[in-house]
């Protein structure tokens, strides 16, 4: 018995030392998830309150590091024109959606795809853990998101193929060249509850002088009883 134990221990040690893993199919993203971010999450608006809870006035774009070209666009913001053109979801794209004052429902669509839905704007993001397809197709508000677990406890999401949109409701623009990198982390709240931290970096060489970095907090909710689906609005 002892010989067997020593042999097993030795095998385990050698396996660890030389990085061997047991043969078999690679685990799915769902099975290998180091954290569970599924559930209902509500934005906890402790930062940028006046940019997120109300629609800021035209030209109020501090402290976004906008290029001069982007400032002209922001200064020409016309919500009525956006509505008329069917662009009322411009401020609900992947460059800004996690900064909305909204609720989010995160579920596994399948073993390798996370689904993120928002009640405000009724948007759906799909975070793909599989390899990206060769062609991403038409640009969309939510673009194409590639996801990977960052061990030991984080999720990294990279999004491209975006339609140009707004970082803020009042027409602060990002271009369709923008790329968004996000990190999802979770933490306990003293006294009870859980917080989801989403750090988002919007990189846009056309409209931003440097990557625009925000980090947003969400509290976990027990269920979807406060879910309030409302369509996009440009105003």
């Amino acid at each position: 018995m002892r010989v067997f134990f020593i042999a097993a221990l030795g095998t385990l040690l050698l396996g660890r030392m030389f990085g061997q893993v047991p043969a078999g199919p690679a685990p799915t993203a769902k099975a290998s998830a180091p954290i569970d971010i599924t559930g209902y999450w509500v934005a906890y608006v402790t930062e940028d309150w006046r940019f997120r809870m109300i629609t800021p006035r035209k030209g109020d774009y501090q402290p976004v590091p906008l290029s001069p070209e982007a400032r002209k666009i922001a200064d020409a913001w016309d919500p009525a024109a956006d509505e008329a053109a069917g662009n009322q979801c411009k401020s609900y794209g992947a460059g800004a959606i996690m900064r909305l004052a909204a609720r989010f429902h995160i579920t596994w669509q399948d073993d390798n795809t996370l689904r993120v839905e928002s009640d405000a704007g009724m948007q759906t993001r799909l975070l793909h853990f599989n390899a990206s397809p060769s062609s991403l197709g038409e640009r969309t508000w939510q673009g194409y998101s590639s996801a990977q677990w960052e061990k030991p406890s984080s999720l990294k999401v990279e999004t491209t193929n975006l339609r140009s949109g707004y970082l803020r409701k009042n027409g602060v623009p990002y271009s369709d060249n923008a790329a968004v990198t996000e990190y999802f982390d979770i933490a306990p709240i003293p006294g009870g509850g859980q917080v989801l931290l989403v750090t988002a970096i919007v990189d846009d060489p056309q409209y931003l002088r440097q990557p625009f970095t925000t980090s947003s907090q969400f509290k976990k909710e027990a269920d979807g009883s406060k879910w309030d689906a409302t369509p996009c609005t440009a105003k």
Partner: protein, 289 residues
């Protein structure tokens, strides 16, 4: 010693060596799970964590009724008083303030493990030492200081710190108060060259619920200063016999956020319900009236 005895001893020794090696590898894995925090970090000031600077801007702070009364009584003219000029900020200001971070560590000269991290200070915030050696927090009756007393542990790649024993101060420069019973939990997440600090402040007196904030910093090749210039008080000649303040219902700036930005008064004075998305419905309903 017979052959069997020698054989048993060899087996026993082999098991001991293998167990020790396994423990070493496990310990090494735990050490590897940590990340490097030391260095200079410049802030990504793309979010408003300190409000707009208007005298009554408590948006995004879940103040208790007591906290709100105290906040509305505050006059920034108190900073003219020599005894207030160098009062500085509690430790949690490192997430809210506009400055960068300089972080260094002290290591045990024999074992090489980190005994403490220090986050350098600014002119108005004292350096914060994070004790990593497992020492307990002092008695609740121990001296309180601006930076408080902080311990830290690693949870995987995340440094988690807990701060107690801070002096009473401010949550925001416009007068939202913090008590000496406030505690702060911070979590340091590093993703590549980006460091994001999640901060949760609990204050049983002046906050109605935990206040959660975060800010990101970029690793910088340019050194951040480890300390700010010394604060020197000066008589400014305008302070009367009492501390400047506003009596209840007499703060003249209470509607300034509404006038300038259209922010409802409830939000400007830090009502907790205004921090949740459903409050937008109330704003819209009020606007439609």
């Amino acid at each position: 010693m017979g052959c069997h005895a020698v054989y048993r001893k060899m087996k026993s020794s082999a098991a001991t060596i293998l167990c020790a090696a396994l423990l070493c590898l496990t310990a090494t894995s735990a050490a590897r799970a940590q990340m490097e925090l030391t260095g200079s970090w410049t802030p990504r000031n793309h979010e408003f964590l300190t409000g707009d600077g208007l005298p009554v801007d408590f948006t995004g702070i879940p103040l208790s009724d007591e906290g709100r009364i105290r906040a509305l009584s505050y006059s920034e003219s108190q900073l003219e008083m020599p005894e207030h000029q160098c009062q500085g900020w509690p430790a949690f200001y490192l997430v809210q303030g506009p400055f960068g971070l300089r972080i260094w560590s002290e290591t045990d000269p024999l074992k090489g493990n980190v005994i403490s991290y220090t986050i350098g200070g600014w002119e108005d915030r004292a350096p914060m030492t994070i004790w990593m050696d497992g020492r307990p927090h002092p008695s609740e009756y121990a001296l309180h200081s601006r930076s408080g007393f902080t311990t830290g542990v690693w949870e995987g790649n995340t440094l988690v710190t807990f701060t107690t024993h801070m002096k009473a101060g401010f949550l925001r420069k416009t007068g939202a108060p913090s008590s000496d019973e406030a505690t702060t939990t911070m979590r340091f997440y590093r993703h590549g060259d980006l460091l994001t600090i999640l901060e949760i402040i609990v204050d049983p007196i002046y906050l109605a619920e935990p206040w959660i904030l975060s800010r990101s910093f970029q690793l910088s090749p340019t050194p951040q200063p480890p300390i700010g210039p010394p604060c020197v008080t000066a008589y400014e000649g305008s302070v009367g016999p009492t501390a400047p303040h506003y009596l209840p219902e007499k703060n003249p700036f209470v509607d300034e956020m509404t006038t300038k930005y259209g922010v409802p008064r409830d939000a400007a004075i830090g009502e907790p319900e205004t921090l949740y998305p459903e409050y937008r419905k109330k704003i819209q309903a009020a606007a439609n009236k």
